[in-house]
Amino acid sequence: MESTFRRLWTLGPAAFVVKVIIAAIVADALLLGFILLRRMYRRRYFARRDRRVFEFRQKWEQLLSGDIPYDAWRLDNFDRQIVEDIVLDAFEAANPVESARLLGFMRKTGLIEKRIFEARHYRGWQRMAALVALGRTRAPEGISALAEGLRDKHQETRHAALRGLARTASPEAAGEILTWVGERGLQAPALLIQNALINCCREAPRMLLPYLEHADREVREMLARVLGEIPVNSIENALIALAEDDLPEMRAAAARALSNAGHGQAVEALAELAKDPVWFVRLRAVVALGKIYDARAIRPLLQALTDSNRLVRMRAAEGLVDRKSELASIFAEAVAAQDRYGLYAYFAALENAGLRKQLEAQLQEQAAGGDSNAANLLATLAAGELKAPPPAPLLSGPEQPLAPAPAAMAPK
């Protein structure tokens, strides 16, 4: 029997071209036909859908209260999908009372059960859709099904499960995520896991501590960043201990978290971290000190104004400028430091915050009272640079090139 290849060969190029032309013409016609038919179909579909959505919206209260029997809509796929979509959208903007009411409705109508079933038994995109819907409901009974989704072999499904758990914002979900991370390591982007844990650990940051102590380096760093983002009043001592960790990421996270921890010992720990040999730890500490309105934070911030890293100087200047009532005295200290880069950063922050005139007024007031130093400071402010040393270049300087910051550590 003659092979297909041989037959094509013997037909010659002309016959082959004719066939390709015919195939291409048919393909063109099919594509065109498909576009037109699809447009017609979608037009009709959405018109019908809009009509039904409008009808449901008109009698939404009766629908929620059950005055309209659930079977009137839930046995029809099209209607059920519309109702579920409306409810899930309502969850996004609902207050706690309204959320509870919507959740009650979903439980009574069996929509939650249906989604839990789908999340457990379906695969691929269908499972993913079920997990997303479950997450949107924030239903506690969905947590175990979502946790099972974390172990799915498809990455997209795992991500959907993680996002769903994040949505529940419950310590129970945090427990599931931490167990999964403990078992399998980082099987999803760190940012996604961090985000989920930030949402879920707000009420119980303490549950992160055992993992922070015992997990491997990668997981510890990720968890440290989580800790840096949540209020941690109850674990201030643990954070201060973390500030002495060997890993710079951990120290940076401790610095970030300490800005939320209140004033107590935090300022002292942050002042120490502001002298850390690693630039992004210093940066985090300086940002945190800038947020703490405590007189003890001013000295380390002034010291950071002369830091070798420009981002640290910039953040220190922003933190100092933020203390509006003490602008003049802080400016005097900044000038006294005789660091032209530090002073430049201070001027930049001052101008960016639109506080130059306020500082000028404070200094003029002091000068009018006979303060000769205030007059000098006014002159420095007007000149925009220190008097004696070589002029600070406005747009250039032998800066140290920045080492790339890890994305999550980047200045905010």
Binding site: M128, R163, A407
Partner: protein, 470 residues
């Protein structure tokens, strides 16, 4: 001679055939990828991601040179972008019109000293301004050296975010464009170092308050053909190449990069004609040389609307410039070809660019010439020739309609029936006579490059203000 013509005509046929096969493959990959992307987005709800405190800041860099007709609309649009940690840096690149004055007036700019470290070389900066109305806006007024790349480098020096998004100052971004372009980064921040978004044609559409209020097709036929071209290039070409991590171009009109890496490769090359292609090529080289795993992605839903030339002369100039940019970058990176270190970039992506992009005008115009010559000498196989031309035309038209289909089944921005019909109709004109004209412009580009004529020739623009309706 006859033998030569015969070989040339058959070579042209093989060339067309392989080229179209490439397009068909990319069309199929793009259709599959877009469908998966749509499903993936269902789990990636942008409002959740917006709430996250971990979303990295972005600096938008917008170089502007004589953009007085667009600047207010586009800067307003950039400041209205839906992104929590946003910084907008507009670089006034030696405009001789009222671009700077318009910004000073509209955004209450005040001269400031901001931290600016000239880490990447660029022309001298005259002044820095910050907006009193919106402190997220910083304007750099610099001297012009006639290079967009140089202007972007100035912005790069002032950027304070870990990611920079380069956009044209005559473009309009959709409100959620930055959120969407960050999706691949958030999914894999360690590896994704650059992301391209889709650029669409704004001509014909209506703009209100810095936002696109109604999407319509342009009125002129060759503007509509450019719409089809953009759809094919972005929705099919880039989507498919990115899928295989072989994306070599992120459009200069809308692209996101990791700031530290752009600085590491010394920013954009000021003398490059196609600075966007050049940067991506150098990023590939930098990372492959160091064996750093990375991905350069394309996302088809963050949309940037840009103005395309609305007269043939400007269009010809633009296409000639693109061709000059192409040859410039390909020559600069010719040592990457067929080297094991550069993997699929050196073995597939760059050879493709050489054969099917750079040589395309030479081969196609040369092919037409040999066909005509063969006909004149009476040695042309007429049947074969007619069949071949029809085949080339129909197949290429199928790819164009395929790109409209891709648009239709995924993003569907053109809602009016008339627009879709016009779009499909113009697919039939794209490959005759527009394609041949396009090839002549590209050939002119090659000729200009060979003569050393690398000067930037201005394009006539309508300006976004003219599309303002509300």
């Amino acid at each position: 001679m006859i033998h030569f013509l015969d070989v040339a005509n058959h070579t042209l046929f093989v060339y067309y055939f392989v080229c179209n096969l490439f397009y068909l493959t990319t069309l199929l990959i793009a259709l599959k990828t877009s469908a998966a992307h749509q499903k993936r987005l269902k789990s990636f709800r942008l409002e959740w991601f917006k709430e996250s405190p971990l979303v990295p800041p972005i600096t938008v860099l917008a170089p502007a040179h004589n953009e007085e007709r667009s600047i207010r609309v586009s800067v307003r649009n950039m400041l209205a972008l839906d992104y929590a940690e946003l910084e907008v840096i507009v670089i006034n690149d030696g405009s001789v019109d009222s671009t700077l004055e318009q910004m000073i007036d509209e955004f209450k700019l005040e001269a400031v000293r901001a931290v600016y470290v000239p880490q990447v070389a660029c022309a001298p900066v005259k002044a820095l301004y910050r907006s009193a109305a919106d402190p997220r806006l910083l304007v750099i007024d610099k001297e012009s050296v006639g290079s967009k790349a140089d202007a972007v480098n100035a912005g790069l020096n002032a950027a304070t975010s870990p990611y920079v998004c380069v956009v044209d100052a005559d473009s309009i971004l959709e409100p959620d464009a930055l959120l969407r372009i960050m999706v691949p980064v958030l999914n894999d921040p360690a590896q994704v170092i650059g992301v391209g978004g889709i650029v669409r044609v704004v001509n014909g559409s209506e703009i209100a308050n810095g936002r696109l209020s109604r999407v319509r097709l342009p009125r002129k036929g060759f503007e509509v053909i450019q719409v089809v071209e953009y759809l094919r290039a972005f929705l099919i070409g880039r989507e498919a190449w990115a899928q295989a991590n072989m994306l070599t171009i992120i459009s200069g009109a809308f692209g996101l990069f990791r700031t530290d890496l752009v600085r590491a490769v010394h920013g954009f090359r000021a003398e490059a004609i196609g600075e966007d292609f050049d940067l991506v090529a150098r990023l590939h080289r930098y990372l492959l040389d160091r064996e750093i795993p990375y991905r350069i992605q394309f996302v088809p839903d963050p949309v940037c609307w840009t103005e395309v030339p609305s007269d043939l002369k400007s269009l010809g100039r633009q296409r000639a410039r693109w061709q000059k940019g192409l040859i410039d970058v390909l020559l600069k990176n010719r040592d990457m070809l067929f080297r094991r270190r550069y993997g699929r970039i050196g073995w597939i992506a760059l050879p493709y660019m050489w054969v099917f992009e750079l040589f395309a005008p030479v081969i196609e115009i040369g092919g037409i010439f040999t066909i005509v010559l063969a006909a004149c000498l009476g040695v042309l196989n007429e049947k074969f020739c007619i069949e071949f031309l029809i085949y080339g035309y129909v197949f290429a038209t199928m790819i164009s309609i395929g790109s409209v289909l891709q648009e239709e089944v995924t993003y569907k921005r053109y809602n009016e029936w008339q627009d879709v019909l016009r779009l499909v109709s113009y697919c039939f004109f794209e490959h005759f006579p527009y394609r041949q004209l396009h090839m002549i412009w590209r050939l002119q580009g090659l000729w200009q490059f060979a003569r050393g004529d690398l000067a930037w020739k201005p394009l006539k623009r309508q300006g976004l203000e003219s599309a303002q309706s509300g």
